[in-house]
């Protein structure tokens, strides 16, 4: 069973008094006044009795139909009164129905994670597919959330709410769902640190711009078996400064996985990762993964290492024998390294010494990549220029220019129509802006329909 619970800082969305009830748990409730339109499925309704049993009850909003709100009791606060409707049972001192308050179920990601870790959670069943739906009430500033134990839950998803997704450009935390930490994650830990199977992170803008003076150097860390983890449609960007003894790695596998485990990294933007002092940089450091990793449709741009021997890596995979890395439809561009052969767009284990299977095709590397690490395989494009790739904005010489980076591709990009159709498993066909790919796929996370897929403009013009 899938259960959606909301995550957001708005703990006082709407105060409303019930006017009617039907059903016997869950209850279909009407109210005496309009409920704020910000209230959605997954929010909670909290109401306290002031006259008799003094209980505070919590109800989960499970459906909304017009002015009918379906409320499921999830917590009686220890009152022991059993399952009862919020209408007619909660009175003030004059024995009139009291108002209850709609709130987000959880205040931040850490609050949600603590509840996921409970053996007997209140707001969802112990074996549910739980969807933590993030709302852009304010910027999420969680420095590090460690999903270490999901008890017996079937799956855990952390997702941005519809209408509050980034669309492929960075933005404010009140316009779209943004995680922008301000405190340390602890060096070599992830802002999202995952040690559970069946986990999905999607449509979140992870902005590291306020961490220049902090020790955080990793956005996402895979710490265990991580079987069927899917990281899709996220933006990860703007890491600067010197985080410490290890450089910035935006996604890093530190657990081994097992040969039967599958990890999927799909349709993400990773850009503007600039090391400040003598360290490597890497967008996707996945080489210790022993299972199958699918790296599809990602766009990686402007990865700058610092120091004479330090390398800049786009994607490193497939070190262990028996591991399988499927790497297709990715863009890796804008690598900067002072080391010889230090610009490594696609790396098969450290320095191409991997023993796993590396299935690569339809990838793009630009003219910054060292030849040994260029894209390879069927349909791949190498030595492309930024003009060929046609990002919306790609200048990176200083912070002002990096501020304007926009790695969505334009109509004239060589990436348009140059990718391969990878089906629809795990939503791989949904591009970073939420658009379903059609026709010939573009390489990279942002899909632009090829002219051949949109009709003949000249002919249409003639008809007009």
């Amino acid at each position: 069973m899938a259960t959606t619970v909301t995550i957001g800082s708005n703990q006082n969305i709407s105060s409303n008094t019930t006017s009617g009830t039907s059903g016997s748990g869950p209850y279909v409730i009407t109210f005496t006044s309009s409920v704020d339109s910000k209230v959605v499925v997954g929010d909670i309704y909290v109401i306290s009795d002031e006259a008799s049993h003094f209980g505070t009850y919590t109800y989960l909003v499970t459906a909304i139909s017009g002015s009918d709100y379906t409320l499921k009791q999830v917590d009686d606060g220890g009152a022991g009164m059993g399952d009862m409707t919020p209408h007619g049972n909660f009175m003030d001192f004059s024995y009139s129905q009291v108002a209850g308050v709609f709130k987000r179920a959880f205040e931040d990601i850490g609050d949600f994670e603590v509840h996921v870790n409970l053996s007997s959670p209140k707001y969802f069943g112990s074996s549910d597919d739980v969807i933590g739906q993030m709302h852009a009430d304010s910027t999420f500033t969680d420095a590090r959330t460690y999903f270490d134990n999901s008890q017996s839950l079937s799956s855990v998803t952390l997702s941005a709410a519809d209408g509050q997704r980034h669309g492929g450009t960075d933005g404010a935390g009140t316009s779209q769902v943004v995680i922008e930490p301000t405190a340390n994650a602890g060096h070599n830990n992830g802002i999202i640190d995952i040690n559970i199977d069946n986990f999905i992170l999607e449509f979140v803008d992870i902005n590291l711009d306020s961490l220049d003076s902090r020790d955080t150097n990793k956005a996402i860390v895979f710490r265990g078996t991580n079987d069927d983890n899917v990281i899709r449609n996220n933006m990860i960007h703007d890491k600067g400064g010197n985080p410490g003894g290890t450089g910035p790695f935006m996604m890093h596998v530190v657990g081994a996985g097992a040969s039967s485990d599958t990890l999927s990294i799909l349709n993400n933007f990773i850009y503007n990762v600039v090391e400040g002092s003598n360290d490597n940089v890497c967008a996707l450091l996945l080489n210790t993964w022993a299972g199958t990793v699918n790296v599809y449709n990602n766009t990686i741009y402007n990865m700058e290492s610092q120091g004479g021997s330090k390398v800049a890596i786009g994607i490193r995979v497939a070190t262990p024998a028996g591991s399988v890395a499927n790497v297709k439809n990715n863009i890796v561009a804008g690598l900067v390294s002072a080391a010889s052969n230090g610009e490594r767009a696609y790396e098969h284990g450290q320095a191409n010494a991997g023993n796993g299977t590396f299935n690569e095709a339809y990838n793009l590397s630009d003219d910054t990549s060292a030849t040994a690490y260029d894209a390879a395989g069927t349909g791949s494009l190498i030595n492309q220029t930024l003009t060929d790739i046609d990002f919306e904005s790609s200048a990176v010489a200083n912070e002002t220019q990096r501020d304007a980076v926009d790695v969505r591709i334009g109509d004239d990009s060589v990436c348009v129509g140059a990718g391969v159709d990878l089906g629809s498993t795990n939503g791989v066909n949904i591009d970073i802006a939420g658009t379903t790919r059609s026709g010939d796929w573009s390489i990279g996370a942002f899909h632009v329909a090829a002219a051949s897929d949109t009709g003949n403009p000249a002919f249409l013009l003639f008809l007009n």
């Binding site: 800082s9 919590t58 609050d111 270490d148 134990n149 009140t174 070599n188």
Partner: protein, 289 residues
């Protein structure tokens, strides 16, 4: 600084322990979060053309939280102003020497499809909007609250605490603290920088961002230096042994540990206990090895 503590050990023996600091927030961060609520874009409506209403509070909020203002001049050109430096330039579909460019019509058309868009229209009828949020450390939250107090009845001093969720009130304990700087001569019985809840005259100061920054870190050890791999030994390095402060801070420990009861140990600004005394480094204290 406000801290949210785990109450009772977690069900998972490898996760949080009783008293662990799950989350630490500076006063600035708390006030900024409230300011984002007050100035939330969805609080402000649209004009008859679908542009966001140019409410003075919202415009001031955007000016203080973004780096750039962009103003459409004609069908192709956009004036881009760096709000911090005042530097201006004109950009359009042709990349300038910095590679900066914009398809104004395409951008505005796309943005207007979202009900959270920030496209405004000036008195002269041209669209303008803001881009790229400032780093948190560069945002003047006090100045934002000055604007909020000017345009609304909300007061900054009423927004010194986070709004807690139901689960935070039941499964966690919120406390707050600050620096105590005691320089009077009437407190010989305690340390000159650290007192818990003293009666002498202390200067109370908000904890620095750096002090707050490491309070929710885990304890780890390196297991493979070549691969930069570490292992999490303990979910948190810092704790507040709140049970030890039951007398000094008048805490009812039984109530705090009862998940059916709300708990909140936050004090008003003038009565906040010392951060140095309250927060304990479990490694340095030998609680974990």
């Amino acid at each position: 600084m406000e801290v949210l503590l785990k109450v009772n050990d977690s069900d998972d023996p490898n996760s949080y322990k009783d008293g662990d600091i799950i989350r630490a927030r500076s006063l600035k961060e708390i006030r900024y979060r409230h300011a984002q609520h007050k100035c939330h874009i969805t609080n402000f409506g649209f004009d008859s053309f679908g542009n966001r209403v140019s409410d003075p509070l919202l415009i001031k909020f955007f000016e203080k939280t973004h780096k750039y203002k962009l103003e459409r001049l004609n069908s192709n050109d956009v004036r881009k102003t760096n709000i911090i430096t005042g530097h201006q330039k004109i950009i359009n579909t042709t990349p300038d020497e910095d590679g900066d460019m914009i398809h104004a019509h395409r951008f505005i058309t796309s943005a207007l499809k979202s009900n959270r868009h920030g496209i405004f229209k000036s008195s002269s009828g041209q669209e303008f909007w803001y881009a790229k949020t400032k780093k948190f450390q560069d945002i003047d939250v006090d100045a934002i609250w000055y604007d909020i107090e000017t345009h609304t009845d909300f007061l900054k001093l009423d927004h010194n605490n986070s709004d807690l969720s139901e689960t935070q009130k039941r499964y966690m304990l919120a406390m707050n603290c600050c620096y105590h700087v005691c320089e009077d001569g009437d407190h010989d019985d305690h340390d000159h920088i650290a007192c818990l809840n003293c009666t002498c005259h202390c200067d109370l100061e908000e904890c620095s961002e750096d002090f707050v920054a490491d309070k929710s870190e885990p304890v780890t050890r390196v297991v493979d230096a070549d691969e930069h791999i570490n292992e999490v030994l303990h979910a948190r390095k810092f704790q507040v042994p709140y049970w030890d402060f039951s007398s000094a801070l008048s805490l009812n420990i039984d109530n705090i540990r009862n998940i059916n009861k709300y708990s909140d140990a936050r004090a008003v600004l003038a009565e906040r206990p010392s951060a140095e005394v309250l927060t304990v480094d479990k490694v340095a204290a030998g609680i974990i090895i």
